[in-house]
């Protein structure tokens, strides 16, 4: 098919327009994943290691939010950032930071829920030994996060995969503005509807390569875990 050849040509020749879109997509999704990790891992650890009234409903909600539809996340952030919304004065709607916020909302529950499960499982295993060694709360949290680091890395990669592949949230809050908020997924949606298949297919190839790379990194983390930690 001529579209496929043109698409490959765009990828292999490093088409500037295509790679500007890839670059913005990676910046947005990596930033969102980083912020979500900074919120999600401590939040997961806190829920895993503390007992409080209403803990179980919180866990159920957190697990449910892993399946939060991207359009709902996008709509929520849109309502917050729109001119009449509580954060409208920030002027962030239809900018890359708005897209980062929307993806952070989407990814944080995934990382927090997986971190909670990972850390809680390890805590059940370690609890008595750490108590017998007289390990205090601060060192306990540090130990659990460090010893669960490869599983937590897999959680981060799962979060990044979700962010990189979603289209619903960022198209609502980003607006899909050419050269400003247009990412791989929003471009594919738009260009396909316009019939400009080479660019859509080229971006599809890059997106698939990124997804495969994430899977390889997750696998590598698992292998490293077995090799270095047993």
């Amino acid at each position: 098919m001529p579209e496929n050849n043109s698409a490959l040509h765009l990828v292999l020749t490093g088409d500037p327009a295509l790679f500007a879109i890839v670059r913005l997509s990676l910046i947005v999704s990596l930033s969102a994943t980083l912020i979500a990790a900074l919120i999600g891992v401590p939040l997961g650890a806190l829920i895993a290691l503390t007992r409080f009234r209403g803990r179980e409903p919180v866990i159920v909600m957190l697990n449910a939010l892993m399946g939060l539809p991207p359009v709902v996340a996008g709509l929520s952030v849109y309502l917050m950032l729109s001119r009449s919304g509580p954060l409208g004065s920030w002027g962030l709607l239809f900018t890359p930071p708005a897209m980062v916020i929307a993806q952070t909302v989407l990814v944080t529950p995934i990382i927090a829920a997986l971190a909670r499960q990972t850390i809680e499982d390890l805590w059940v295993e370690y609890r008595e030994e750490l108590a017998a060694m007289g390990v205090g709360p601060f060192r306990r949290v540090r130990t659990l996060i460090w010893d669960a680091r490869f599983s937590l890395l897999t959680a981060l990669l799962a979060g990044f995969g979700r962010a990189a592949a979603e289209v619903g949230a960022i198209i609502i809050v980003g607006g899909n503005i050419l050269g400003f908020t247009r990412t791989m997924t929003t471009t594919i949606a738009l260009e396909t509807s316009k019939g400009n298949l080479p660019l859509a297919i080229g971006l599809g190839i890059v997106l698939m390569l990124i997804v495969i790379l994430i899977s390889a990194l997750a696998w590598g983390a698992r292998r490293a875990s077995e090799r270095f930690s047993g």
Binding site: E125, Y126, E128, E129, L130, A131, A132, M133, G134, V135, G136, R139, T143, D147, S225, R227, F228, S229, G230
Partner: protein, 242 residues
């Protein structure tokens, strides 16, 4: 927490201790004292309360009734006592790092740790496995590493919960030799076993538990030569205590 380290946690005194789990009485009116000296071996069938007694004496479980004191104090952080569980859990790091972790948790100065790690690995015969992930060691090796990790706390008293329960004779002998060496260093060993032969080989004192109560206790030679109770006679004769 900045509680000053105590010279010793001994003697450990349990007075009329009752421990419940899920409404079931596990230990019932236990009064016993662990003092410095030869190993004390807790014997009795499964479910007799040996593990619970060790955990209570370690300070990991609070009694529902009665008192436990360490060198006269009712509240005592486990600075001078250590426990090796029946199924020890290895931290997800190397054998050497497992010991290093215990040393750090016990407050050993960073500069001293490598030397202490090497000494302890040597004591339990694991010098060659220093860099190996602890979870990849065999069952017997993990038991020895767990012993070294417990000793990293420089304990005055060491609780061992069936340390040879699932080991072959060679691995059992290695552990028993280490236990003798530890005891010879002046560390009080309190060990649970249901292996009568092991109890005879290691015990200075014997405590026979059955259904959460102390049936008989005293110096090992007297216990084995002239048991005073019917339960002790049956247990020594190899009959089933149910």
């Amino acid at each position: 927490m900045s509680t000053p380290a105590r010279a010793s946690d001994l003697p450990i005194r349990l007075s009329d201790v009752e421990i419940l789990a899920g409404g079931v009485t596990i230990l019932d009116g236990i009064s016993i004292t662990f003092s410095a000296g030869a190993p004390t071996i807790l014997i009795g069938p499964n479910g007799s309360g040996k593990t619970t007694l060790l955990r209570a004496a370690m300070g990991l479980i609070r009694p529902a009734r009665g008192r436990i004191t360490w060198d006269g104090c009712e509240v005592s952080p486990p600075t001078r006592r250590a426990i090796m569980f029946q199924r020890p859990v290895m931290l997800r790091r190397s054998a050497a790092a497992n010991i290093g972790y215990a040393l750090a948790a016990a407050g050993a100065p960073r500069a001293e740790r490598p030397k202490r790690v090497a000494e302890l690995l040597s004591l339990v015969g694991l010098d060659a496995y220093a860099g190996r992930p602890a979870r990849q060691l065999s069952g017997g090796e993990q038991q020895r590493l767990s012993l070294a990790r417990a000793l990293a706390r420089d304990p005055a008293v060491l609780f061992l919960d069936e340390p040879t329960a699932s080991l072959d004779p060679a691995a059992t002998k290695t552990i028993e030799d280490i236990v003798r060496a530890i005891s010879a260093r002046g560390i009080k060993v309190v060990m649970a076993t249901h292996d009568l032969g092991e109890a005879k080989r290691l015990a200075g004192e014997i405590v026979l538990l059955h259904r959460g109560r102390v049936i008989e206790s005293g110096p090992a030679p007297g216990f084995f030569a002239a048991p005073a109770t019917g339960e002790a006679k049956k247990f020594i004769a190899g009959e089933l205590l149910v």
